[in-house]
Amino acid sequence: MIWNVPFITVALLIAIGLYAVMFKRNLIKIAIGITIIESGVNLFLITLGYRKGGVAPIYTNLPSGVKVPEGMVLPVPQALTLTSIVIGVAVLALMLSFIMKMYQHNKSLDSHSRRLKG
């Protein structure tokens, strides 16, 4: 791969996401931060599954010249990523609905306007 660019991107995405979660006060931005971390982890999983010149492990309409099964990609990382994306959608939906409820109660998206202290 080109100078490990995907791995550097992964590290950057996770760092940016953690920064947003820790230092941003807006609840929506915290939710965005978590989504960014998740994208970083998903990208990492997908990058692991990369194989130069590999094709998808589908036997019908296989391009000619591909050795079976050596030329195929093992689809486990993709399956893991898909699961992780689905879970991510559920978590994001739940998180946004909590933020909505909190906005209704507090009339503010600032995390410092919280009620539970000490």
Partner: protein
């Protein structure tokens, strides 16, 4: 014995299936729905006892989802890709805790959660939570662990926010953020393992583990993530908020849920890494987590005015005892002292897990009973409840004495084991542990005095029967464990500790000799 090899799968599958049948039965009748949920929880309890019996007598149980010996092994993969459930002594022990607490919480909720406002969905989430806990404890596959971790945290967040107060939603949001970040750390660590070994199975990874630089990073990520999820100081900030705002029955479940994370932490330390890692350093780190949790938890608990918040801080402090006991065991692992008192320390720590789930669950349920009658959690507004709520106050005394480590209740048995074993390592550990225990007693005397003693201030009745039965289930276990600690330690706790320590047995059960 009526034992069937499919029991592990049924234990996870049954609550998942029942969860989605519950709203349908609710259309017919509410009583039928209650009966159905309680029946499912009772069957779960029965099955886990059967399974635990089998595990404690015959050793590790393996259940493979999919073919037992698939003929096609994919090229890059070192072992066949399938999901394995592996139940050793420790997993069965944790399963017992989850099922018992879930049953008590389920019975308690019949009267405690008022009808309307989606009570059938409440039960749905409760059953999913149970399935998530059992899945986390039984699985032998790292990615599966991640999936169940997320199922557990999503279901518990929904339940924390069940009442939709501003406070409850805030507690749920905090818990969701923390547990999701923890889960993503876990997923990242899993990806690191997959990158190196092409494996996801815990036993298979443990077998070929090289302890490279990447493995060390993964270890740090996993320990941090699970310590965050189990509410150890300094990652404890979510615990008081979500424990105090959730409905009481759910708080009892949350205690069991944090212990499932604690189990995952121990599983990673002992089975996945085991002899490879530098256990003195990791053990010391866990001891320090434990000491900090114990001390900060109890000092934060003392000034609280909200009864459930106070108990939540005590939950943090009690988690410290478990970390201390098991941390001392980990610290000594491999040295000649381990067989002398390392084992004792671990027995104390592991025994404390089940004890804590029982008495803390009971205390949260009594707090819920007070809230049910008075509608407040503020200690200053309570008083004189002992005149009318007699059973609740008896249950509260038993729970409070158990948590403070007073004989003949169960907290005494496990705390004594921890004191004795830790004293051999360093007297300071035992002194801190005892000091924390005294402070715990002090703060519960305060609660007992301000809630139950004094002149009659409120004209309230005793809580409904189903709530009393829920509390009685846990009280029975507390008294039983308190009266026969020797039997419990040698028949349940010791096998669990040995299963945790014996890494090769866990690996061989899956990989073969």
């Amino acid at each position: 014995m009526i034992y069937n090899e499919a029991i592990p799968a049924i234990l996870i599958g049954l609550p998942l299936l029942a969860a989605f049948i519950t709203p349908i039965i609710n259309l017919a009748s509410r009583k039928a729905r209650n009966a159905f949920v309680i029946a499912v929880l009772a069957i779960e309890e029965l099955l886990i006892i059967l399974l635990a019996w089998h595990v404690f007598t015959d050793g590790i149980v393996i259940y493979t989802m999919g073919a037992k010996n698939p003929s096609i092994v994919p090229l890059q993969a070192a072992v066949p890709i399938r999901i394995v459930l592996e139940i050793d002594g420790m997993a069965a022990f944790m399963g017992l805790i989850s099922c018992t607490v879930a049953m008590a919480a389920g019975i308690y909720s019949i009267a405690f959660i008022k009808e309307g406002n989606g009570k059938s969905r409440y039960y749905t989430l409760l059953l999913i939570m149970l399935a998530g806990m059992l899945g986390m404890e039984f699985t032998g596959d790292l990615f599966n662990l991640f999936v169940f971790l997320e199922i557990l945290s999503i279901a518990s967040c929904g339940l924390i926010a069940y009442r939709q107060h501003a406070d409850a939603v805030e507690g749920a949001f905090k818990y969701l953020v923390v547990s999701n970040i923890a889960a993503l750390f876990v997923l990242f660590a899993i990806a690191l393992f997959y990158a190196q070994y092409d494996l996801l199975n815990i036993a298979a990874i443990a077998k070929v583990m090289q302890y490279t630089q990447l493995d060390k990073i993964a270890l740090v990520l996993l320990v941090a993530a699970f310590a965050m999820k189990c509410g150890a100081v300094p990652m404890h900030f979510w615990a008081p908020d979500s424990y105090s705002t959730a409905p009481a029955a759910i708080t009892a479940m949350l205690v069991a849920a944090s212990q499932a994370s604690l189990y995952a932490l121990f599983r990673v330390c002992f089975t996945l890494y085991g002899s490879l890692m530098d256990y003195q350093t990791i053990g010391l780190a866990i001891i320090i987590f434990g000491l900090l949790s114990m001390f900060i938890g109890v000092t934060m608990a003392l000034p609280q005015k909200d009864i459930k918040r106070l108990m939540a801080y005590h939950a943090i402090s009690q988690t410290g005892y478990m970390l201390l006991g098991v941390g001392v065991g980990l610290y000594l692992l491999g040295s000649s002292d381990f067989n002398v008192y390392g084992i004792k320390a671990m027995e104390g720590g592991i025994f404390h897990i089940i004890n804590h789930a029982m008495y803390k669950g009971l205390l949260f349920l009594t707090a819920g009973a007070i809230y049910y009658r008075l509608g407040t959690r503020n200690l200053n507004e309570m008083g004189g409840l002992g005149h009318t709520m007699k059973f609740t106050s008896i249950f509260f005394i038993i729970g409070a004495l158990a948590i403070a480590g007073i004989p003949p209740f169960n907290g005494f048995a496990s705390k004594l084991l921890i004191y004795e074993a830790c004293y051999k390592v360093s007297p300071i550990l035992s002194i801190v542990a005892m000091l924390v225990s005294v402070l715990t007693l002090a703060s519960f005397i305060k609660v007992f005095h301000s809630a139950f003693m004094g002149p009659k201030m409120h004209d309230v009745k005793e809580v409904p029967k189903s709530m009393l039965i829920g509390m009685a289930v846990l009280t029975f276990v507390i008294i039983f464990f308190g009266l026969f600690p020797g039997w419990v330690v040698s028949h349940i706790v010791h096998p669990a500790v040995m299963a945790l320590v014996d890494k090769t047995a866990y690996i061989n059960a899956v990989m073969g000799g």
